[in-house]
């Protein structure tokens, strides 16, 4: 059983769509990060994806590349990320996910990573450069108890969507556009077609849609066709220029959640 899947289903039963917010660990500031994370949850986020930085983030656009770079400069590594997550966990019962690339995990030690994640209160992991071809070699038994959330994209065939749905746990991360994080929607109707196609094929998982969702209107457009949305670059971008109390970012989070419920 999955804490994340149960949480999403419970919300959906009351006709609510979930909002998952991506934050880069220790960005923009290490000392205030726990406070920021908890305020984002209070402002309407249902769960958090905490990114641990990597020097060469292939799947990310300029905004998250920048935040990763700052995080590394702020001394964030996996140990520090676990410390931050542990403190966030003390203040919330909502699902917490860690997201990042394969190499820091491999370097940390697979077994140690899985154990430390669980003891810090992490519910699931997303590693975008581990596709199903590499899944069995990468996520060994020690990942039991952690959801391993997989991604599908507009280039994923129907057969692959089935196979990925089968392997994924927690939810299915539906990347709405071909591109890196922060990509612009080229045509919302194409993305919606893909999401509708997905919803007909998937059996096991709830679908959360991410990439290219940056405001309340986007949230409103996607809400009817999925169980929730993921917002990353738009939030990171807002944090780059925000005041000390992050008031604009918290307003953005509240607006996104509002878009999902109206």
């Amino acid at each position: 059983m999955s804490i994340i899947a149960d949480y999403i289903s419970k919300k959906n039963k009351t006709n609510e769509r979930v909002l998952s917010v991506f934050l880069t660990a220790g960005f923009p500031d290490k000392d205030s990060f726990v406070d920021l994370a908890l305020k984002i949850l209070d402002s309407g986020a249902d769960m958090l994806e905490i990114g641990f930085p990597f020097s060469d983030p292939l799947a990310d656009g300029p905004v998250i590349q920048h935040s990763s770079q700052i995080a590394i400069e702020n001394g964030i590594n996996l140990n520090e990320t676990f410390n931050l997550v542990r403190k966030i966990r003390e203040g919330t019962n909502k699902p917490l996910i860690m997201m990042g690339y394969a190499n820091p995990v491999l370097s940390y030690g697979m077994n140690k990573f899985a154990n430390d994640a669980k003891s810090a209160g992490v519910n699931g992991v997303i590693i975008p450069d581990v596709p199903i071809e590499e899944y069995d070699n990468f996520f060994k038994d020690h990942f039991v108890g952690l959801d391993t959330i997989l991604l599908i994209t507009p280039t994923t065939s129907n057969d692959r969507i089935k196979a990925i749905d089968e392997k994924s746990s927690g939810f299915l991360y539906c990347v709405s556009v071909s591109g890196t994080t922060g990509a612009q929607q080229k045509g919302k109707s194409t993305s919606l077609d893909f999401i509708k196609r997905t919803s007909l094929i998937t059996k096991k998982n709830n679908t959360l849609v991410g990439f290219g969702i940056s405001n309340e209107n986007d949230a409103r457009a996607f809400a009817p066709y999925c169980q929730g949305i993921i917002v990353g670059s738009a939030v990171i971008k807002s944090l780059m220029n925000d005041d000390k109390s992050y008031s604009n970012t918290l307003k953005l989070v509240a607006a996104l959640k509002k878009g999902l419920s109206s």
């Binding site: 020097s55 590594n77 190499n103 450069d129 581990v130 590499e134 280039t155």
Partner: protein, 399 residues
């Protein structure tokens, strides 16, 4: 194409032992599968091989000579040294071998837009060249540091009609240019083919690039048989990503020939300014592949250095990682200074100005030759010519 006996890598999962694989975002999996399928079709199609052979011969100038290096042989006064002359290829380096193969592949895939990364600019020039010939739009990613030190090649690419896109992220060199090229591919995958320049990246690229480059070794094998009536004792090649080395090594696997790869030690392997990946790296996952990687304790990729832009890369082709562990080849490194002195040596003993990359292979002869006997035969792969490096060489030698 199985050229070597008892050697069947990569396996069906794109692995060379534990190395290789496909560590990429989901968006790229379907295009990689399509690429593999179309490549396999072409590889079994005699017409494709005829077309490529014809281009190699009539456009690129293959076969490249195997030159007996009499001056260099006399200088060391030990074994006989031959040079495989990839510097004489059209565009001045072995990179054209892969570019020609992949442009045919791109046409077959129906792609209209070509992207590539480049370090020294030799791969960028080769791709710009084949795009001009075949009438495809061409975009070359190049780190800002490399744009500065290889400005002549930047101009060549522009003259050939390519757009050179400066990369300002990270160390602003080959690694970062590769990241940007992959990000472009993720975004424009529908109409775009990515011509990767070395035996790196996700499967099937390391295999495809190896197979297109193995023309170097196939020719060298025939040529040395013809002049010496036997195989050589040693083959020496420089290794950055490792495509010229794999190209000349591959047909000699399991044939008793000692295969030696030479990495860039930069300021020295006791400093942090080098890119001797196989010498000092450890297993990592980087740019789509599991391979040896220069990284810190936390798995962040190291900032590396070589005087030669083409070797200035923290990773290495996964097949080289496999060769190292299985002792199919041995890997050593030489410094910037040694490479510069070897450039001078080859220029003055043979009248051949090598690329700084290739000069690393020449430099290793200082270590190898004293160990050889007079009757032994050494082939060094001169992967490219040094015209592009004249500014760097001039600054280093100071005359």
């Amino acid at each position: 194409m199985s050229l070597s006996t008892n050697y069947n890598f990569p396996d069906d999962n794109g692995r060379f032992g534990k190395y290789g694989g496909k560590f990429v975002p989901e968006t790229l999996i379907t295009p990689l599968q399509e690429l593999e399928k179309v490549y396999n079709e072409l590889d079994n199609d005699p017409q494709f091989h005829n077309e490529l052979d014809k281009l190699n011969k009539e456009y690129s100038g293959r076969p490249t000579p195997l030159t007996f290096a009499e001056g260099l042989t006399n200088y060391f006064n030990r074994g006989k040294i031959y040079l495989k002359r990839e510097d004489l290829c059209h565009t001045g380096a072995h990179k054209i071998n892969n570019a020609l193969g992949q442009i045919l592949l791109a046409k077959k895939l129906g792609k209209t837009r070509i992207i590539a990364e480049t370090g020294a600019g030799q791969h960028g020039v080769a791709v710009a060249t084949v795009c001009a010939k075949f009438g495809l739009k061409c975009f070359i990613y190049m780190g800002e540091v490399d744009i500065e030190r290889q400005s002549l090649n930047v101009f060549r690419m522009k003259l050939l009609g390519a757009e050179v896109i400066p990369v300002s992220s990270g160390s602003k060199t080959l690694k970062d240019a590769t990241n940007e090229a992959i990000r472009d591919w993720v975004t424009n995958v529908k109409d775009t083919h990515y011509i990767i320049g070395s035996v790196v990246g996700p499967h099937p690229y390391p295999m495809i690039v190896r197979n297109f480059q193995s023309v170097i070794g196939i020719e060298a094998k025939e040529q040395i048989q013809k002049v010496e009536g036997r195989l050589p004792d040693y083959i020496v090649a420089c290794v950055g990503g490792g495509s010229n080395a794999i190209g000349i090594f591959f047909p000699f696997i399991n044939s008793g020939v000692k295969l030696i790869g030479v990495e860039a030690a930069g300021y020295g392997i006791n400093t942090s300014k080098h890119c001797a990946t196989l010498t000092l790296g450890r297993e990592g996952i980087f740019q789509g592949m599991k391979t040896y990687l220069l990284q810190n304790d936390e798995g962040q990729v190291s900032e590396v250095h070589s005087i030669s832009a083409g070797l200035d890369y923290p990773g290495v082709g996964p097949e080289h990682s496999f060769f190292k562990d299985e002792i199919i080849a041995d890997y050593f490194s030489v410094t910037d200074d040694e490479a510069i002195r070897a450039t001078e040596l080859l220029s003055q003993k043979e009248g051949i100005i090598p690329a700084l990359e290739s000069a690393h292979a020449i430099a290793y002869l200082n270590y190898l030759m004293p160990e050889t006997a007079k009757e032994e035969i050494i082939i060094v792969n001169v992967s490219g010519r040094g015209d592009k490096d004249l500014n760097t060489i001039k600054n280093s030698l100071g005359y």
